[in-house]
């Protein structure tokens, strides 16, 4: 792996029956970088994320990741539930929270693997369990304060506005000392004000937690505004990866988005 890179996807291919969802895709993510993945609907963006986080086992390719201990691991050798232990964590396109748990409890789920106590100890709720719970609760509280959600901590996730739910999901990813956070359409369903707030939050997270962020998003203004580099794909195939300005002027990308049609608004407008 290149020394500056934290994630390298090499020649990733994923097929569903006859459909090639991802076709020989390669890209990399550097330390403390915000990378956007763009592409028309059905381009295979979410499939890429599912392959990286091992929800799907890819057909070909390698996914190299520099983990928290500075070791290089091929994520394809890692179980889906162990991915988070290396410092790679994700959110979901449709918010996936436990509706009937309080917000702080939802965030504590993100710290699942940091608990060292086992189920028998939990039955008896000894001192060790309580101490550990308190320590992680404090950590969760810090994150909530950081995201300005602390006043909501004991409310149920159920019935919260969509913007808050998205923020809770992001807060949950922060519990695990992430090296790379993968956000699947973080701005979808947010209004303009919430989107602006989100871009601020994402940049703050990058600086505060010193991690890289990879995101899929359809809101081009948001992507162009926030990303250091953008990877464009279409029909599972790599089109280009470059800075936002260069991506906008890339003819391949323009064609994929505009299809040569003049009356469609240009991306970024």
């Amino acid at each position: 792996m290149n020394k500056n890179n934290v994630l390298e996807v090499r020649n990733l291919t994923m097929r569903f029956g006859g459909l090639v969802a991802v076709n020989d895709l390669s890209f990399d993510v550097r330390e403390q970088e915000i990378v956007g993945i763009i592409g028309p609907n059905g381009a295979g963006k979410t499939t890429v994320f599912n392959c990286i986080t091992q929800f799907y086992k890819d057909d070909e390719g390698e996914i190299w990741f520099r983990n928290n201990d500075n070791e290089e691991v091929n994520l394809n050798d890692v179980k889906v539930t162990d991915v988070i232990n290396h410092g790679l964590v994700r959110t979901f396109q449709n918010v996936e929270l436990v509706r009937d748990l309080s917000i702080i409890d939802n965030i504590l789920i993100g710290a699942h693997n940091q608990f060292k106590t086992n189920v028998f100890q939990h039955l008896f709720n000894g001192r060790g369990v309580r101490k550990e719970e308190q320590a992680l609760r404090d950590k969760a509280m810090k994150i909530l304060t950081f995201l300005k959600l602390d006043h909501l901590k004991d409310q149920y996730a159920y019935g919260q506005p969509y913007g808050v739910l998205k923020k809770i999901e992001i807060a949950r990813t922060l519990m695990c000392n992430p090296k790379v956070i993968i956000l699947d359409e973080p701005a979808a369903g947010l209004n303009d004000r919430e989107t602006d707030e989100l871009s601020e939050i994402i940049e703050q997270i990058r600086d505060e937690y010193q991690c890289s962020i990879v995101l899929i998003e359809h809101d081009m203004g948001f992507v162009m505004d926030i990303c250091d580099r953008i990877c464009a794909i279409n029909f599972g195939k790599f089109l280009a990866m470059d800075t936002p300005q260069k991506i906008q002027s890339n003819p391949l990308v323009q064609e994929a988005y505009l299809g040569g049609d003049d009356d469609v608004e240009s991306p970024g407008s």
Binding site: L101, L108, F124
Partner: protein, 452 residues
């Protein structure tokens, strides 16, 4: 008293202990003849069901998995306990622990099955297991005694030099103790990392996996916990009733236990106990005598309750108290507030008043309350008159307008009728606000007078 109240507020499990203490006093009432012996036995059965249903609640409420084999495991616990007591070691604790360990292993097998088999397929797979158990209970004579069943004695404890066998009432107390321990453990478990993982697993499997929750591990935990508690229920059953035969452990019994969880309240520990009481206790205690001509009435009761609770009250019966409170604060409390304030002021005055002035104060208070009531009443009366006028005005106006509209113009008439509707509801809304304002003003006035 206040310290106990404080303890109950800060330490939730203390409530389970208090609950247990109250329950274990019941045999004393039956000794002195206030309660019938059969009632205590019935409550004993409810306690057994509570233990079993708590296990199922962890499965159903927290982990979103259904089991139709609960009754089979209860029966298994009873038979296994007798078998171990007669053939291995006749002491309650040892035999119970051995039984539970075996049950845990069986639970793990189902847990493994649940990894592959999902949803309704899984529920029916547990039904297979229940049917296999039933066949074993009926036919393996050396283990179960076949249709004639098995007898056993109340629990024995081997102390250093002596052996103690409990009486029936002490067995009851032991069951209460075990139930309280199970409740406390369950409370701790669901409020820990394990509980959160179980909920994450059932509500969103993918998010749980992404957060590092192993589905295998937590399905195993859920099934082991549920089978161990079902089996524990069986152990308590044989220890308390001293007889077991194959008849009770069928699908219907499993369904009843599910009903307890649903009616009492998913995810609620006290709710589960309440559900067990409602489903098993109430029909036997109260309804049997009323509907003595139809012993099956308890079924209708339980059935309708299940349907009604799911359709209209999905949180379960345990929420009734909470909801009643909420309704009270929304609708009744504002109207009562002036009187409550007045009483508070009176009490404050009373506390600081000299002894001989107290009588005087009380008289004044009564007077004041009377005055307040009539003052508010008068204002309400005035408001009502105004409201009636408002309604009448609107009706008259639109009546005229509708009459004036040409006969053929239906759209215009419809429109006018709709407008009338809106105007009327606005008027009613205003009336409601004004009414509340009267109460509020009364409170403010009282406060002002008090300050002076």
């Amino acid at each position: 008293m206040t310290t106990i109240k404080q303890l109950l507020k800060t330490n939730y499990p203390a409530r389970f202990i208090l609950f247990g203490v109250i329950l274990s006093l019941l045999p004393i009432f039956s000794e002195i003849g206030v309660l019938q012996n059969s009632t205590v036995r019935l409550i004993g059965y409810v306690i057994i069901f509570t233990v079993v249903a708590l296990g199922l609640n962890l499965l159903l409420g927290f982990s979103g998995l259904v089991s139709l084999g609960t009754a089979g495991f209860m029966g298994f616990g009873a038979y296994m306990f007798v078998f171990i007591s007669t053939n291995v070691f006749d002491g309650f604790l040892v035999a119970m622990l051995l039984t539970l360990v075996i049950a845990g292993l069986l639970g793990a097998v189902i847990g493994l099955l649940s990894l592959k088999v999902e949803g309704i397929y899984l529920a029916i797979a547990t039904l297979f297991i229940g049917e296999i158990f039933l066949q074993i209970f009926r036919n393996v004579d050396w283990f179960t005694g076949g249709f004639s069943g098995m007898r056993h004695h109340h629990p024995t404890f081997n102390l250093l030099f002596t052996e103690i066998t409990l009486t029936r009432n002490w067995t009851y107390v032991l069951m209460v103790l075990i139930m309280v321990v199970v409740m406390i453990m369950m409370y701790h478990l669901v409020h820990s990392r394990t509980g959160r993982a179980l909920m994450a697993m059932s509500r969103s499997e993918h998010a749980a996996q992404a957060m590092g929750v192993s589905i295998l591990k937590y399905r195993l935990i859920a099934f082991i916990f549920a089978t161990v508690l079902a089996t524990l229920g069986g152990v308590l059953y044989i220890s308390y009733f001293r007889f077991v035969d194959p008849s009770p452990w069928n699908l219907n019994r499993s369904l009843f236990i599910i009903a307890m969880v649903v009616v009492g309240g998913f995810k609620s520990i006290f709710g589960t106990a309440l559900g067990a009481f409602i489903i098993h206790g109430i029909p036997e205690l109260y309804l049997k005598d009323i509907f003595s001509g139809n012993p099956e009435f308890s079924y209708i009761f339980a059935g309708i309750l299940i349907i009604v609770v799911i359709m209209f009250y999905p949180n379960g019966a345990i929420y009734v108290g909470y909801d009643v409170k909420k309704l009270y604060y929304k609708h009744v409390y504002p109207r009562r507030l002036p009187y409550i304030t007045l009483k508070q002021i009176y009490k404050q005055n009373l506390a600081t008043a000299a002894d001989d002035a107290k009588k005087q104060l009380k008289a004044t208070y009564k007077n004041q309350r009377q005055e307040l009531r009539s003052a508010i009443g008068a204002k309400l009366e005035q408001l009502r008159a105004k409201h009636q006028q408002c309604l009448a005005d609107i009706k008259a106006t639109y009546q005229a307008a509708i009459a004036a509209a040409p006969d053929g113009d239906q759209t215009k008439r419809q429109l006018l009728k709709k407008q009338r509707q809106v105007a009327l509801s606005e008027c009613k809304q205003q009336h409601r606000i004004d009414k509340l304002a009267i109460y509020r003003n009364a409170v403010t006035e009282l406060m002002v007078i008090d300050d002076e």
